[in-house]
């Protein structure tokens, strides 16, 4: 748990983030040993490149989860923004204008989610699950079974060619957003409110915090960023289908949770999420290079996800049991699961 106001502090670094760093170092060393290609500049960019859209959305997802909510609709919003943009272009709209409208539809989705969650106080899980189905459905209505390939080459180049130095545009955007997110979440009033609400919504409201407004803003931001990521995805793929980005939400949420953000809200840091991004991406990259793909790759990530929490927990538990032994001899311990503690 965190001491400091917005949850960024040294003690935390010594535990969760420290652990992530350790695992990350191990994984990177293994990757370097096992694959001569890992350290190639191309590969390092690739490492981010293949998941860049997911990690961009992971940033806003961090805010949402710390706030005690969840947004399952992000991948569908990505798909809808891309499909809407494609549909408009297909209908003859100028491409840059269509891009703007792609963002706009993200805004609309955010408004819908935000209104239902913040003002009607429906559970975000249900609202965004319905959104996941519905927004994807709208994308389907727009593109049906067609594939849209009328992306202008300059836009396609944005996604595939270096933009700044060796970095493609999406990666530049990610780094900028990451920096902004850190400042906002850990140093600004807005970020403080996000934590406060995630910890104790009642206390926040009773302290004059405008809980609804903050929630509304978060869901709008989440959908907007998702729309942006969807459009960036198009620039990388060069084509749009209604199914674009399907199923990304689970990967995005996994990244955030592995970053040490509690699903019940109130705790977590972007440093942790950053480390978790590096860890998962290096793992995936390393395994892909080693020819481990598909379900096996997922299984290994799942296993690491579990072990990374289990091992320190067991160590701590053993330590505690040992301590208790010093004054009692019956070793039966009874307590409740950690995550269920408020």
């Amino acid at each position: 748990m965190s001491n400091n106001a917005n949850g960024l502090n040294l003690r935390f670094l010594r535990s969760w983030e420290g652990l992530l760093t350790l695992i990350l170092v191990i994984v990177v060393l293994l990757n370097i040993r096992l694959s001569p290609f890992f350290l190639h500049g191309d590969n390092l960019i690739n490492l981010f490149g293949v998941s860049i859209e997911k990690i961009i959305v992971a940033l806003t997802m961090t805010f949402i989860i710390i706030n005690g909510e969840i947004d399952l609709s992000v991948a569908s919003v990505m798909g809808l923004a891309a499909s809407f943009m494609a549909w408009l272009t297909d209908k003859g709209m100028a491409f840059p204008t269509a891009l703007l409208f792609g963002l706009l539809i993200g805004l609309v989705c955010g408004l819908i989610n935000g209104f239902l969650i913040a003002y009607l106080e429906l559970p975000s899980l249900v609202v965004t699950l319905a959104g996941l189905i519905a927004y994807r459905g709208v994308a389907r209505i727009l593109l049906e079974d067609r594939s849209f390939t009328g992306i202008p080459p300059w836009y396609n180049d944005l996604g595939t060619q270096p933009f700044l130095g060796p970095l493609p545009l999406a990666l530049v955007i990610f780094f900028v957003l990451f920096a902004v997110a850190i400042v906002v979440l850990h140093f600004s009033a807005f970020g403080r409110y996000v934590f406060v609400i995630g910890n104790n919504k009642d206390a926040a409201r009773m302290s004059g915090v405008q809980v609804r407004r903050i929630k509304m803003m978060l869901f709008i931001a989440s959908s907007l960023v998702a729309a942006l990521a969807g459009l960036l995805y198009v620039s990388r793929l060069g084509a749009v289908r209604a199914s674009i980005a399907e199923g990304f939400e689970l990967d995005i949420i996994t990244i955030v949770l592995l970053g040490g953000v509690s699903i019940f809200g109130g705790t977590g840091t972007l440093v942790g999420v950053g480390l978790s991004i590096l860890l998962i991406l290096s793992l995936r990259n390393g395994m892909s290079l080693a020819g481990v793909t598909g379900n096996t790759q997922n299984s290994i990530i799942g296993l690491i996800l579990i072990l990374s929490v289990l091992i320190p927990n067991l160590a701590q538990q053993a330590n505690q049991t040992w301590k208790r032994r010093e004054y009692v001899s019956r070793p039966k311990e009874q307590s409740i699961t950690r995550e269920s503690l408020p």
């Binding site: 690739n46 060069g238 793909t293």
Partner: protein
């Protein structure tokens, strides 16, 4: 196929690292393709590696891209792709081509500028006509309503076959066949089962479900059988004989078709190996010998502008007469009772009459 008098032969024993990339893992037909590729791998004495790498079903598009990217980075010599990502694979595939890799698509093609060539299991136009014929054959000359149960709206090959079928339906002899809907079963038995259920609920007069997917066809058959509707609604499509045996025998799915995926994997491997070994250039008109499968010629793909293909050829129509024999395993095409080539009409008619004779 088999046009040039002097087909090019493969240089055996080279070291060529290859990746066989299916749409996703966990479906029998792709494993059969892998079987065929491994067979060719041994036969050609490739000292390099053949890896069978695929994404998960729920992450197919992004997963395919990731695998292509990783293969490119690792400097694999050639990659064989069954595209499940529409045009979205193109940038990654182009990248691979630019790095000097050979990219061959099979089963489901990529856009022409993202590949060297496409190993087509059948001529798509012919397949469309065959499906139309099967519909006509099963629901009879009086016609009626029928629908497609496809895998997903994003599967390039499925879409192409459906389009080809619609094209074929323009022939007046199919005038009474009314295609009412296309629904999708996501290549999952339970979704396909429910999609079939939805079709029957939606169209009370439905006479046939055409499922050009190896997962959809048995699932749809199971549904009509469960609902005791086999007399009313028939199932047809593209399916693996061993999975259709009982439905074909009890009349729920009187007729369906398939080619051998083992052969497809074998041929794809052969083609790709020769391309990467420099035996063939991958240009139109080249004819080469693909081991046990005989000779093939690279030709223009009529369905895809600027695309090249080779057509594997024979596929089989299965009915109650031949399904049992085939069900033992995916038998090579040669042993089948009725085989068809790209321009099949004669054999087709023969099969038809065989069915009608009953």
């Amino acid at each position: 196929r088999a046009q040039s008098a002097d087909p090019i032969k493969a240089t055996k024993g080279k070291k060529i690292d290859m990746v066989l990339l299916p749409k996703f893992l966990g479906i029998i037909v792709f494993d059969q393709a892998n079987q065929g590729a491994q067979e060719a791998h041994k036969e050609l004495g490739n000292t390099g590696k053949l890896e069978f790498l695929g994404p998960t079903a729920d992450n197919s598009v992004a997963g395919q891209i990731e695998i292509i990217k990783a293969a490119t980075t690792r400097g694999v010599n050639a990659i064989m792709i069954s595209n499940n990502a529409g045009d979205q694979l193109v940038p990654a595939a182009k990248d691979a081509l630019a790095k000097g890799m050979k990219v061959v698509s099979w089963d489901s093609p990529i856009a022409p500028d993202g590949e060297n060539l496409f190993v087509s299991q059948v001529d798509f136009g012919a397949l469309g006509k065959t499906m139309a014929d099967m519909v006509l054959d099963i629901i009879g000359p009086n016609g009626g309503e029928w629908a497609f149960l496809s895998a997903s709206p994003d599967a390039a090959n499925q879409n192409a076959w459906i389009a080809a079928t619609k094209e074929a339906l323009k022939d007046p002899k199919y005038a009474k066949l009314k295609l009412v809907d296309v629904v999708y079963g996501n290549d999952k038995p339970e979704d396909s089962y429910k999609a079939a259920q939805g079709l029957v609920d939606k169209y009370p007069n439905l006479k046939l479900i055409m499922a050009p997917t190896s997962v959809g066809a048995p699932a749809a058959s199971k549904f009509v059988q469960d609902e005791k509707l086999c007399d009313k609604v028939k199932v047809s499509g593209l399916a693996v004989p061993s999975e259709m045996l009982s439905y074909t025998k009890n009349g729920c799915a009187p007729e369906f078709a398939l080619w051998s995926f083992v052969d497809l994997g074998y041929l794809t491997y052969y083609t790709t190996y020769m391309l990467a070994a420099g035996d063939i250039k991958g240009t139109e008109g080249e004819t080469f010998a693909a081991g046990r499968m005989g000779n093939y010629t690279i030709e223009k793909d009529p369905g895809r502008k600027g695309g090249l293909r080779i057509v594997m050829g024979p596929f089989t129509i299965y009915n109650k007469d031949n399904v049992e024999a085939a069900a033992g395993g995916p038998a090579p095409a040669a042993t089948m009772a009725a085989t068809m080539s790209g321009t099949m009409s004669a054999t087709m008619a023969a099969t038809m009459s065989a069915t009608k004779a009953k």
